[in-house]
C-alpha cells in the first residue's frame, strides 16, 4: 500500500513541511520570496539563479520535502517518478519570453516556456530518471493524480513518486508536493489526504 511519507506546501509566504509550519517569510513579492527562501535554508545550487519562477518554486518545494533524504531508501534512479500539474502551464514565463522577441529572443527564457522543465530541474537535482508527466488542470485534481501515481506504483513503473501541484502566474503562486512511497507511514495515499494537505494554508487561517 502507498503512503504519503512527506509533503511540502509553499504558499502565502509560508513553508510547511509534512503539515508543520517550517518558516514564515516577511511579506514580499514572489521573486524576493523565492530568493529569501533559498537563502534562509542555506541552499547551495548555482543553477537555481538561472531558473524561472515556476522552476524555482518547484525546486524549493522538492528540496525542502526531501531534506531528510531519500538515499537510505535505496531506490534506483529509474524507480523515481515525478508527476506534476498546474493551472497556468508556463504562461508566467511565456509572457516574459514574448516580451523579448521583438528585440533579441532569449534562449534562457524560451527553454522555460514548457512547464515540464520544472520536472527536468527536479530530476537533475535529485538524479531521478523514472516516469515523468506534466498535466494542466483548472484546479488540483487529487483524484486523477492519485489514480495516475497509484497505477505507476502498482504496475512496477515506479517505487517512489513525487507528485503534486506547482503553479505561478504573476504574484499568485502555490506549490504542494507529496512524496509517495510503499513504506508504512501515518498518512495513506488518498485524494482526501492530499486535498487536506493542499488546503493547509486555509486551515492555518482558521
Amino acid at each position: 500500500m502507498e503512503y504519503i511519507t512527506a509533503s511540502c506546501v509553499i504558499t502565502d509566504n509560508r513553508v510547511y513541511h509534512s503539515g508543520r509550519l517550517l518558516w514564515e517569510a516577511p511579506r514580499v513579492g514572489l521573486p524576493d520570496f523565492l530568493l529569501s527562501a533559498y537563502q534562509h535554508f542555506g541552499f547551495q545550487y548555482p543553477k537555481f539563479y538561472k531558473m524561472d519562477h515556476l522552476s524555482k518554486l518547484g525546486w524549493l518545494a522538492a528540496e525542502l520535502m526531501l531534506r531528510d533524504g531519500l538515499a537510505a531508501a535505496g531506490y534506483r534512479p529509474e524507480e523515481m517518478a515525478v508527476v506534476l500539474s498546474n493551472g497556468n502551464s508556463s504562461l508566467d514565463t511565456d509572457y516574459k519570453y514574448f516580451a523579448t522577441i521583438g528585440d533579441i529572443p532569449s534562449p534562457a527564457l524560451f527553454v522555460y516556456t514548457l512547464p515540464n522543465i520544472m520536472i527536468g530541474e527536479i530530476c537533475i537535482r535529485h538524479k531521478f530518471k523514472g516516469e515523468n508527466a506534466f498535466f494542466v488542470s483548472e484546479l488540483f485534481d487529487a483524484g486523477f493524480i492519485e489514480t495516475y501515481v497509484r497505477d505507476l506504483m502498482e504496475t512496477g513503473n515506479a517505487r517512489a513518486c513525487i507528485c503534486g501541484w506547482v503553479d505561478v502566474l504573476g504574484e499568485d503562486y502555490s506549490a504542494v508536493l507529496f512524496l509517495i512511497e510503499r513504506k508504512l507511514s501515518t498518512l495513506p495515499f488518498t485524494a482526501e489526504n492530499m486535498n487536506r494537505l493542499f488546503n493547509i494554508q486555509n486551515a492555518g487561517h482558521e
Binding site: E78, D94, P105, V111, N116, I117, N132
Partner: protein
Amino acid sequence: MKDVFVVADNIVSPLGRTTAENFSLLREGIAGVRHQNRPEMSDQPFYAALFDRDEFRENGRHTKFEQLLIASIGEVLVDAGVDPADPGTILILSTTKGNIGLLEEGIEDPARISLTGSARLLAHYFGFVHSPVVVSNACISGILALVNGMRLIRSGRYETAVVAGADLISKFVLSGFGSFQAISAGYCKPFDQARDGINLGEGAGAIVLSGNQRYRGRLRLRGGSVGNDANHISGPSRTGEELAHVITRSLADAGCGPAKIDFISAHGTATLYNDEMEARAITLARVQGAQVNSLKGYYGHTLGAAGLIESIVTLESMREDLVLPSPGYETNGVSTPLNVCTSLLSAPLEHCLKTASGFGGCNAAIVMSK
C-alpha cells in the same frame, strides 16, 4: 494484460485532412515542408510545414488551435462511433503551446490563452462528460498522452480514450527555436552527416483507443514507458542510456523482445545532439536491426502533435506493410549507424516502436503491434 485497440485515427496537416489523404501523399514522396515567406513569423524566409493563412481562421468561438482539434477529434468520433457523453469515455489532449500565438494578435487574457480554457471549450463542443486530461510535456506530449490513454484503459478506469494533440507555429515558437540556433537553413536531414537543425510544422492528430474486445483484430497499443535523462534541461543525454532504458521498458511492457521490432519511427529532429543520442539509445536497447525513419522531413517537428501524427503514420504503415523513406537522409551522420530507410519498402510490420524526446530531458516510447 488487457488489450488496447486502435479504433480510429486522423491526421489534419498541411498535406490533408484524413489519415488516408496524408498517407497517399507520403507514399508518393510528397512532403508538407516548404520554403516559407511569412513576415508575421519571421523577417527571414524559412522552411516549415504550415497551413495556408486562411485555413482554420479564428471564427469568434474557437481559435485556430481549437479548430484543428475539432476537425481531428470530430472525424475520429464519427469514424469510431464514439459517444462523448458515455461516462466510459475520456478525452486526453496533448499540446506544448496551444493558443500562445494569440499573444501576437494582442490577446493576452490568460483565460483565453490557457490550455484549460481550450479543454473546456472542446469538451463542451463535443459533449464529453468528464473534464479532459491535458498533457503538456514538451515534445513527448503526444506519446505520453497515448501511454496515459493506454494505462487508463488497462486499469479499467475507462473503456475508451480519445487522444488528440495539436500545435501551431507562431513567431513565439519560431523565434524560440531560432534563439537556440536549432532551425535548419534548408530541408532538415535527420540522421544525416550534413544535418543542421529542425524544420517546424503545424498539425493535429487524434486516435481512439478502446479496451472493448469487439475490436479484436485491430492494431494494438501494446506497451509504453516514459523517463528522464536527469542531465540537462535543453540538451539530451550524452550516452542515450536513459532513452534506451525507456525503450527496454516499453518492450517489456509489450512482452516483445528487441529482435521482434520490425520498424522504428524515430524522433529524428535532425539536430546534431538529438539524432546522435537517439542512435546510441536504439543501439543500446538492441533494436538497431529494425528499419528506421524520421517523418520530420514530411511534417516538420509538430511538437505536441508529433507523437500522435507520427504514431498514426506508423499505424498506417503497419496496415499497408510499407516503410516510408526518411526524407533528407543520404550519408550516415551518427556514431552508431542505423538502418535508415531511403526508399519505399514493402515489409511485414508486426511490431513497431515509436520514440520521442524533448526539452526537460524527457523520453518516451510506445510499442504498436498487429
